[in-house]
């Protein structure tokens, strides 16, 4: 897919060089294409070309019913599939005015936070790898493997879980769930200082990230950036705190913000978020109430005519699910406000004027997942 681009035509006339990063490039973590205009080593312009894996999930959802459409969202941000499913379920439950059993509520939050940990672990490993340290990737995957094993026990799959359904969760927890989570927590807490020793305290890593990829608070708000990327620019935007869903309002955890605005700040915010997630899981793991894991629902769900918007905090930011219902069994129109799409649009501001070598570090810190951008 070659796209006519103004900057491609202009190259060679003014001494600028145009390079293509992607569509297949290790640093883009997926099929993403950047056309970068360089003056020497300085980035003059950055133009993202997306759509290589666009599946038109929104159009697809218009012909799927309210139970089926949830599953397509696991394929959007595949690292936060539990949280995506949660957002869809919340929107449908809002329309049906369903009451969720307490057990299902707690299971959902536990799964969400485990997902966040798994996602941040992968981000940590791959960001370090982008910058040139290969070892952290294996450390991160050692712990991430434990989480995917836990998911596999309960949900049957390791990546696209499809575990949450309107009304609760699909199946009860695996008998080993609590014990396995505790083993994981113990190991992860032991290893987290090792993560810091390996990467956070590394002077080369700090030099590569500090003061690089500045995104000011005003720009972050204007670009609609959300998640750790925005919080590192001092914008308070944690959906779990501001618009609590599930039982988040009863839990003790902190919203991590930083005013560094640079790649280093984004790194620190995510590392701290991992600790907060551990704290949330610790509060819940021994307090899973007995009872039903799913509310009783009709076989065919029909949402009353109207508009429903639900939002959740995924590992990358705010995911919004906007359903327009005409009263039928399928949504009339559905829109997924994905965090990656807005975060990507702020990329140019972050890297403009910087060096091409820093581009990869900034990419890593924004933590883009391409299917989430393309949908």
């Amino acid at each position: 897919m070659y796209r006519q681009s103004e900057i491609l035509d202009r190259s060679g006339h003014d001494g600028y060089m145009v390079i293509n990063v992607g569509p297949q490039h290790p640093a883009t973590h997926g099929v993403l294409h950047f056309v970068i205009t360089l003056n020497g080593e300085t980035i003059i312009k950055l133009e993202p070309h997306i759509g290589y894996i666009h599946r038109s999930i929104e159009k697809m959802c218009e012909s799927l019913n309210y139970r089926q459409f949830v599953y397509t969202t696991s394929r959007m941000d595949y690292l936060s599939s539990h949280i995506n499913n949660h957002a869809c379920c919340l929107a449908v439950e809002k329309g049906l005015e369903l009451e969720i059993p307490p057990r299902a509520q707690i299971i959902r939050i536990l799964m969400d936070e485990l997902t966040r940990l798994a996602s941040h672990q992968l981000w940590w490993g791959s960001m370090a790898m982008d910058i040139g340290a290969l070892t952290p990737f294996f450390h991160a995957f050692r712990e991430r493997e434990m989480i995917t094993d836990i998911f596999e026990d309960t949900c049957g799959t390791r990546l696209t879980m499809n575990y949450m359904v309107p009304g609760g969760v699909m199946a009860d927890l695996h008998p080993d769930f609590q014990q396995k989570v505790k083993v994981f927590l113990k190991q992860f807490q032991e290893k987290l200082p090792e993560y810091d020793e390996l990467v956070t305290g590394n002077i080369i890593f700090q030099n590569r990230t500090k003061g690089v990829g500045i995104l000011s608070k005003e720009d972050a708000i204007s670009y609609g950036v959300s998640g750790p990327t925005a919080r590192a620019s001092g914008v308070s935007c944690d959906v779990r705190k501001l618009y609590p869903y599930g039982v988040y309002d009863k839990l003790d955890f902190k919203e991590i913000t930083d005013t560094g605005c640079d790649t280093w700040a984004r790194y620190i915010v995510r590392m701290e978020e991992m600790r907060q997630s551990i704290h949330i899981i610790e509060q819940l793991i021994d307090n899973i109430p007995d009872g039903d894991f799913q509310a009783k629902t009709k076989a065919v769900l029909k949402l009353p005519k109207g508009e429903y918007y639900s939002r959740v905090e995924t590992a990358r930011g705010e995911l919004g699910v906007y359903i327009v219902s005409e009263g039928g069994t399928t949504p009339y129109r559905i829109k997924f406000r994905s965090p990656g799409f807005s975060n990507l649009s702020a990329m140019e501001t972050m890297v403009k004027g910087g060096k091409i070598g820093d581009f990869v570090a900034v990419m890593g810190s924004v933590d883009l997942v391409i299917p989430d951008i393309d949908r």
Binding site: M1, G51, S56, K94, I221, G224, K335, F341, S342
Partner: protein, 152 residues
């Protein structure tokens, strides 16, 4: 601030707007011709400027297109949903990419998927679709693609 109070504050400024409080948030429908002015006023609205455009999308109602802007004020967390009805055969609306930078990408997406022409947009090229799709808008309800689309 609840919906009622917000409505009173907004109604004082936007006299041409129609309000609807039945939904989750306050809905405000404005004529397409007024949209740019309304957007500028909302962005600089007194104590609580609506500076966070968190969702921009379009709905095809088969008889008309409706642009939907979800706006929120970072300072007070007030949210308002602005809707603008467009003529389906010749949908045109002023771009707000200069006011909220996030609109740049979102409008490009809406432009190619729904065929809405955003006036004064800085860069209205295709974003998601490959070249050669100009004029075919896959998210419209009457879009047909017998080769790639499977009817369920």
């Amino acid at each position: 601030m609840n919906k009622e109070e917000l409505k009173i504050k907004l109604a004082a400024t936007f006299t041409t707007a129609a309000f609807d409080e039945s939904g989750q948030w306050l809905n405000m429908t404005v004529p397409a011709a007024d949209w740019l002015q309304v957007a500028q006023l909302l962005r600089n609205f007194g104590d609580f400027p609506f500076d966070y455009l968190f969702c921009l999308t379009c709905i095809d109602w088969k008889t008309k297109l409706t642009m939907v802007y979800h706006l929120s004020a970072i300072s007070t967390r007030d949210t308002v949903v602005v809707k603008v009805d467009l003529d389906r055969n010749n949908p045109e609306i002023e771009s707000v990419a200069q006011i909220w930078k996030t609109a740049n990408f979102h409008e490009r997406e809406v432009c190619e998927l729904f065929g809405v022409n955003f006036l004064n947009h800085p860069d209205l090229r295709l974003l998601i679709l490959p070249d050669g799709w100009e004029g075919r808008n896959p998210m419209r309800k009457d879009f047909e693609d017998p080769v790639n689309m499977i009817k369920l």
